[in-house]
């Protein structure tokens, strides 16, 4: 049996974070970008829990992770609302086309 340690968690978290970045950068669809953000948040969660388990921080890590979940839910709700409004305004959710601030 492979002995699962802190490094495994951290690698998983890093891979997940990279996927998240990749999703944000490459996808044109705003919903997909949001999903990338969720991935990044969850990779951070894994880090928190891992450090809580292997470090001497008590339950603080788990607690923060719970907070992050709650925050992510709120963020998703607001972000999806914004996306809906963007769609209403521009008739598109393609992030490349929404650059009117540039002018």
């Amino acid at each position: 049996m492979l002995n699962v340690g802190l490094n495994h968690f951290l690698v998983i978290s890093a891979v997940l974070f990279s996927f998240g970045i990749f999703g944000i950068v490459t996808r044109k669809n705003a919903v997909m970008v949001l999903m990338g953000v969720e991935l990044m948040l969850n990779s951070a969660n894994i880090n928190f829990v891992a450090f809580a388990k292997f470090g001497a921080f008590g339950n603080q890590g788990q607690l923060i992770a719970l907070f992050v979940v709650v925050l992510a839910a709120a963020e998703a709700a607001i972000a999806l609302a914004i996306v809906l409004n963007i769609y209403k305004t521009f008739n598109s959710i393609n992030v490349d086309e929404i650059d009117s601030l540039k002018e």
């Binding site: 970045i21 944000i24 950068v25 490459t26 970008v33 992030v95 490349d96 650059d99 009117s100 601030l101 540039k102």
Partner: protein
């Protein structure tokens, strides 16, 4: 009533009118009846003065009460000698007597003005100014040092200026106020120089300390000549303020002020301050100084008397007569008739105030007509004004049973005694001639104004007697022009309570060589005994209420039956030997003057116009006031204007030229600097802007507006930072 109470009382009297002034001035605009406060103040001042004078003259008749505190004390200074300047008040008989006159006349004028000034738009301000004047005059009267006297001296000048120019919308009034202020200032400069001479010599301003040092033999620059100069310089102040020749020109013009003001300031009190000043410094005047003072007084008595003969303005006649009477007092001071000069000051204050207020009553009755040729016959319409005016005229003409008779006689006897002892016969001659002229022009005034037929029928119809608040002051003042208040003996004041008891001639303190021959003390051995007699008792008392040092100097009273010695024994003897001849001669010349006035103006035996035509040059000379104004216009004023024109030219061309030249230089420099600014400094700033702009062009490319590009930047930068900080 002890000394301390008297001192505190006089301090209250001194400062009450100042309070009246401030309150009336500050609230005068808001509160319409604010003048009532000022009247209340002046009435209480008068009441307190009566109390003060009563207790001073009954309990402390031979004492001088001095209260002082040290104002400036310089000790152990590297550059200055030890100096301590005291301020304080001195109460002696002269003080309380003059204070009584000031308070009484001031109160009567306050009451008189209630009607005279009714409806004036600056009514409250008028009363405020009267309060200021009363305060300043009190200061002159109470002071015990010449510095304070100078300060209050200028303050009365200011209040006189304000009141002469009270109707400043009139050009003549504002001009007159300026003239009065500037002309008196000429004299004050001399007075100031005299004060400075005294100070550099004695390091004190207090009269007593100065006198003590003079009698100890300390003289300015160690010479009697400089003592004379000092005395005369201080007398310059009196020349200005008392309108003596050659500075008399301001007083007739000062009649532009309201008539009650003329009565108070320019007849009774302020102009008498000059005489009071001479009285204060009398002891330190040398023979030469006294002689000059007598000559100035004689000239000032003579010239205005001749001018008054032909004037047509009722107030101008009275103004010239005031100068003439002040000249009498100054002359009397000069010839050593000290107590009679002061006596005349007081009697003159009452009857001249009465005459001025009477003229005010006439002017108001005639609806502001001052030309006597348009009056006439007013006797029937204004009986009370006429009666009081006549009594005062009798007094000024020196008719027996009046106060003026007593004082004028004393002065004339004094001039006779002086001329007998020194040989200057000009003084009695001038004195008697002026007495005749005075009687003549005063009765001319009375006859033209009150007797005969009205010259202006239309105006005469509307004439009416003035209301009681104007007549009562007249009655009070004319009552005070009767002898009974001063002495029970109608032909000699010596028997009365006024002169021998209350007013003493101060013993001279100047060194022997500077005295008149008849006053040299070694000539009479008895004189030394007399000096021993006057040795004073000095006591010091603490004042608990107002922190001052109070000193009481009690002179030994003259023994019962012992004659009071004026000036010197030989002078006193001669004075008494001339007493009755003087009276006789004075009645004769006065009667002649009055007779002539009746012959010419009442019975018209001699036509006044024919007389004027016959003496045309003299008449014109007198009518044009000896051309003094023209003379001054073409000399002093022309010179001043010429000088100021030169200075103006200098200012406009040279000083302004320098200023303009420097302005040109500055403009040139600033043009150069502007070029520098626009090319070099702005160039540098623009360069910086170009650089930033150029950088901006490059960096703008990075800002695509796409979020995803930014995220890539962030990630890459993060990775770079990670590698950079790896080692830490």
């Amino acid at each position: 009533m002890n000394e301390i109470t008297l001192t505190n009382l006089s301090i209250v009297i001194l400062f009450l009118p100042l309070i009246g002034f401030f309150f009336t001035l500050l609230f005068g605009k808001r509160i319409k009846k604010m003048y009532a406060f000022e009247i209340l103040v002046i009435c209480s001042v008068f009441a307190l003065t009566v109390v003060l004078a009563f207790f001073k003259l009954t309990q402390f008749v031979n004492a001088r009460i001095i209260s002082e505190f040290t104002w400036i004390d310089i000790k152990n200074s590297a550059i200055l000698p030890n100096i301590s300047i005291d301020l304080g008040i001195m109460l002696d008989n002269l003080t309380v007597l003059l204070m009584f006159v000031v308070a009484l006349v001031s109160m009567l004028v306050h009451i008189f003005s209630l009607v005279y000034m009714k409806g004036d738009k600056r009514f409250n301000r008028y009363y405020a100014y009267l309060g200021l004047f009363t305060f300043s005059m009190n200061g002159i009267v109470f002071t015990h040092n010449i510095l304070m006297m100078y300060i209050f001296w200028e303050l009365v000048g200011v209040s006189s200026y304000l009141l002469i120019g009270f109707w400043y919308e009139k050009k003549s009034a504002s001009d007159a106020s300026k003239k009065a202020f500037l002309v008196t200032r000429v004299g004050d400069v001399g007075m100031f120089a005299g004060i400075l001479l005294l100070f550099v010599t004695y390091h004190t301003f207090t009269f007593d300390k100065i006198f003590a040092q003079i009698s100890a033999g300390v003289l300015p620059f160690n010479s009697g000549f400089w003592l004379t100069i000092t005395g005369l310089l201080i007398f310059c102040g009196a020349v200005g303020k008392s309108a003596q020749f050659p500075l008399h020109v301001w007083l007739p013009d000062a009649m532009e002020g309201p008539t009650p003001v003329s009565a108070l300031i320019h007849a009774a009190t302020m102009v008498a301050a000059g005489v009071y000043l001479v009285a204060r410094v009398f002891a330190m005047l040398t023979a030469d100084a006294l002689l000059v003072i007598a000559i100035i007084g004689a000239i000032s008595a003579f010239i205005p008397a001749t001018i008054a003969l032909t004037q047509k303005d009722i107030k101008k006649v009275l103004a010239y007569s005031t100068i003439s009477q002040l000249g009498y007092m100054i002359m009397a001071m000069g010839v050593g008739a000290f107590s009679y000069a002061f006596f005349h000051l007081i009697t003159h204050a009452f009857f001249k105030a009465c005459l001025f207020l009477g003229s005010g009553s006439v002017i108001l009755g005639m609806h502001h007509e001052q030309d006597i040729t348009k009056m006439g016959g007013l006797r029937k319409k204004m009986p009370l004004t006429y009666a009081t005016f006549l009594i005062a005229t009798l007094a000024i003409s020196g008719v027996p049973l009046t106060s003026g008779f007593l004082s004028k006689d004393g002065i004339l006897a004094g001039t006779l005694a002086f001329s007998k002892l020194t040989g200057y016969w000009v003084f009695p001659v001038v004195g008697y001639f002026v007495a005749a002229l005075t009687a003549f022009y005063m009765f001319r005034l009375v006859i033209i104004t009150f007797h005969g037929e009205p010259n202006d029928k239309e105006k005469f119809e509307h004439v009416h007697e003035s209301p009681y608040s104007m007549v009562i002051p007249l009655v009070v003042l004319s009552t005070l022009s009767i002898f009974i208040w001063y002495t029970p003996n109608p032909i000699s004041a010596d028997a009365g309570w006024f002169l021998p008891k209350w007013v003493h001639t101060p013993a001279t303190i100047v060194p022997n060589f500077a005295r008149f021959d008849f006053m040299k003390s070694f000539a009479k051995p008895g004189e030394i005994k007399k000096e021993d007699n006057t040795k004073a008792i000095v006591s010091v008392v603490n004042n608990d209420i107002i922190p001052t040092r109070t000193t009481i100097i009690t002179e030994q009273p003259a023994q019962e039956g012992q004659e009071e010695i004026i000036h010197s024994e030989s002078y006193t003897e001669t004075f008494h030997s001339y007493h009755y001849p003087a009276i006789l001669l004075s009645i004769l010349v006065g009667g002649f003057g009055i007779l002539m006035a009746f012959v010419i103006y009442h019975w018209k035996k001699i036509s006044a116009d024919k007389l004027a035509n016959a003496l045309k040059p003299l008449y014109n000379f007198s009518y044009h006031k000896w051309y003094f104004d023209e003379l001054y216009d073409y000399t002093f004023i022309w010179l001043t204007m010429f000088l100021s024109k030169i200075l103006y030219w200098f200012d406009a061309n040279i000083v302004d030229g320098i200023v303009n030249g420097s302005a040109v230089v500055v403009r040139f420099a600033s043009r150069f600097s502007a070029k520098f600014d626009s090319i070099v400094v702005d160039g540098f700033v623009n360069l910086l802007a170009y650089i930033s702009g150029f950088i901006g062009i490059f960096f703008r490319k990075l800002q695509t507006g796409k979020v995803q590009t930014y995220v890539i930047y962030v990630v890459f930068s993060l990775v770079i930072l990670l590698f950079l900080f790896k080692s830490f």
